[in-house]
């Protein structure tokens, strides 16, 4: 509990509101009520952040050494082996690099399911919500707090992870095998990643308030968010026929005098490398001017969807609470 002790801080958030249950009380109640979810979320953010930092530092060193010594050939050698750990990961840098992305996608689904089940539907099903509305906070304020608190945590956590992930790309994207994977990664991680999680929160809450039964709400929200995700990765209207534009990479070698020379194409032949006086190699992905337009457009669409879902959730709530 010590970790959430600073939580009552938002007291000045709405000091003009009157009522027996003060805003800080409502915030505090919600944090306590959903503490399991809060701990799971903090645990996820901490674990993924550590994972990203590891990939930034010690995790990359072996592959980085091979890149320095052999160039892109070294990257390819590092990426060819197949020791599977429980069928989940090969332990190769080229595979591990994308695993935080999988965790982030799963967490977005988790947010949508949490919003549909424990946050809204379970409360309505068990009658806890109706009980709270009988006390002082109005249903609208109850829902506003219920949405604002998770939104705060989701935005903060996801922004941190996205930032770390982009830093990791800048530092070690050059250790990835070229192809569709780095391209898909490059264009998908950014502000839109945060917006996607927020849209899951809004969509889940709308489903929970509409269905008002925990398990059907979970199933529907999962399906609904699956559709959002499927459209996100493949066919937003503005992406046209192709998923992502090409991103280009550049490889070069440096000789013992420190001068840049073209890659001699020696593969892993050390004698050949010595003959061409190669001191070390370097490689980088060039930034694409398509990144920001695409990210911002996608973020805009997702936030628009979020706003619509939130508005609809408040409408549904007003209808429902009138009948209580």
């Amino acid at each position: 509990m010590t970790t959430i002790a600073p939580a009552p801080a938002p007291v000045p958030a709405a000091p003009h509101r009157r009522g027996a249950l003060r805003p800080s009380g409502l915030v505090w109640t919600l944090l306590r009520l959903h503490r399991t979810a809060l701990f799971v979320w903090l645990g996820f953010v901490a674990f993924t952040a550590m994972f990203l930092l590891w990939l930034q530092g010690p995790g990359a060193s072996a592959t980085q050494d091979r890149l320095d010594a052999l160039g892109y050939t070294g990257v390819q050698i590092s990426a060819s082996s197949s020791d599977m750990l429980l069928g989940f990961t090969s332990g190769l840098y080229n595979d591990l690099f994308y695993d935080p992305g999988t965790l982030i996608t799963l967490a977005s689904f988790g947010v949508a399911l949490f919003a549909a089940g424990p946050l809204t539907a379970r409360e309505l099903e068990s009658g806890t919500a109706q009980l709270v509305w009988g006390q002082s906070p109005s249903p609208a304020r109850w829902l506003a707090t219920k949405l604002a608190l998770p939104a705060l945590f989701v935005t903060a956590g996801m922004s941190l992870l996205v930032l770390l992930y982009r830093l990791l790309w800048d530092a070690h994207g050059n250790l990835l095998i070229a192809g569709i994977s780095p391209r898909a990664f490059y264009f998908s991680v950014g502000p839109a990643t945060v917006a996607a999680a927020l849209s899951g929160l809004a969509l889940g809450a709308l489903v929970g308030l509409t269905v008002r039964r925990t398990l059907p709400a979970l199933a529907l929200a999962g399906f609904g968010y699956f559709l959002v995700n499927a459209f996100r990765t493949n066919s937003w209207p503005f992406q046209g026929r192709y998923q992502q534009p090409e991103i280009h990479s550049r490889s070069w070698a440096v000789n013992s005098a420190g001068a840049e020379i073209p890659d001699p194409g020696c593969y892993d032949n050390r004698q050949c490398l010595a003959r061409h006086d190669v001191a070390h190699f370097a490689r980088e992905y060039l930034p694409s001017s398509d990144y920001w337009p695409r990210q911002l457009l996608e973020t805009g669409v997702l936030l628009g969807l979020t706003a619509l879902a939130v508005a609809a959730a408040f409408l549904v709530l007003r209808q429902r609470s009138n009948h209580v």
Binding site: L86, G87, F88, T214, L215
Partner: protein, 281 residues
């Protein structure tokens, strides 16, 4: 057996069916839709795709690939994948709706005071879904085997694909029965719906990924020799060590996987009854 007990036996399955009628309906519609779509694709779509391929005088192979992908092989693949991974939904449902919710809300305890012993309650809760899963799964496997082999020329997959491997044999039913048992055991241990849902899905995910990555070890692989080389390369599953599984290994491999899953199912079910006895004594 007394008349009262007989009446109880009749009433218990009836009440289990009534409580979970929505799930039964969803499962029935899901299987019927999958089977119906398979029949439609095989009997109707495939013929129109064939007709368009023969009318298309492009380079051989290109027409076939492009025309078949969207209308035929794509949907075929999706059906196989969806039915295979439906065991996740089974695990979630068994953990949350079948057992977890009843223990959380106290409905189960109410039933146990009504002349229904906890063991019989659990037996009915497991037997009826198991029957529905086995029936639906068997129907799907039979139809899928027929549909999958009907138009091989239009498909790009083979028997070693994760979903195809399970969908063509009893392993498909074993996966759903295993999910039912694991979900039940998790719910009895946790006695809360949503945590049980999460844990049972996680357990099934780990088990699934583990077994899928070790499938090629389920049966002794054959060694490639010069005389069998060309025959073996036809539909064989090569392994890392240079050996391979000919297509004839499908049945033993599928049956071994079924055996492993049914053993886990039996263990989880036994453990579930043991946990229930401890909880209710």
């Amino acid at each position: 057996m007394s008349a009262l007990a007989l009446k109880g036996l009749k009433g218990l399955p009836g009440s289990v069916l009534r409580v979970h009628r929505a799930a039964l309906l969803v499962w029935t519609v899901f299987i019927l839709a999958a089977v119906g779509y398979l029949v439609w694709l095989t009997d109707i779509t495939a013929h129109s795709v064939h007709a368009r391929i023969s009318a298309c005088d492009d380079v051989e192979g290109f027409c076939r690939a492009t025309l078949a992908a969207g209308d035929y092989s794509g949907p075929m693949g999706w059906i196989g994948t969806a039915v295979y991974y439906s065991f996740w939904a089974v695990a979630a449902w068994a953990g949350a709706a079948l057992i977890g919710r009843e223990l959380e809300s106290g409905t189960a305890h109410l039933a146990w005071t009504q002349n229904v012993s906890p063991a019989r309650w659990l037996a009915a809760k497991l037997a009826l879904p198991a029957l529905a899963l086995a029936l639906g799964g068997t129907v799907f496997v039979v139809v899928f085997r027929w549909a999958w082999s009907a138009h091989r020329d239009l498909m790009g997959d083979d028997w070693t694909f994760n979903d195809v491997f399970a969908d063509r044999g009893p392993a498909l039913v074993a996966w759903s029965l295993c999910a039912l048992a694991v979900g039940t055991l998790t719910a009895l241990l946790l006695r809360r719906a949503l945590p049980a849902l999460g844990i049972s899905v996680a357990v099934m995910t780990v088990l699934n990924r583990y077994l899928e990555s070790h499938r090629h070890e389920l049966w002794q692989a054959a060694t490639r020799t010069s005389t069998t080389g060309s025959a073996a390369s036809n539909g064989a599953w090569p392994t890392d060590t240079g050996t391979y599984h000919p297509a004839s290994h499908f049945w033993p491999m599928n049956l071994v996987e079924t055996g492993i899953l049914l053993t886990i199912t039996a263990l989880a079910t036994t453990a579930a009854f043991a946990v229930l006895r401890r909880r209710t004594v």
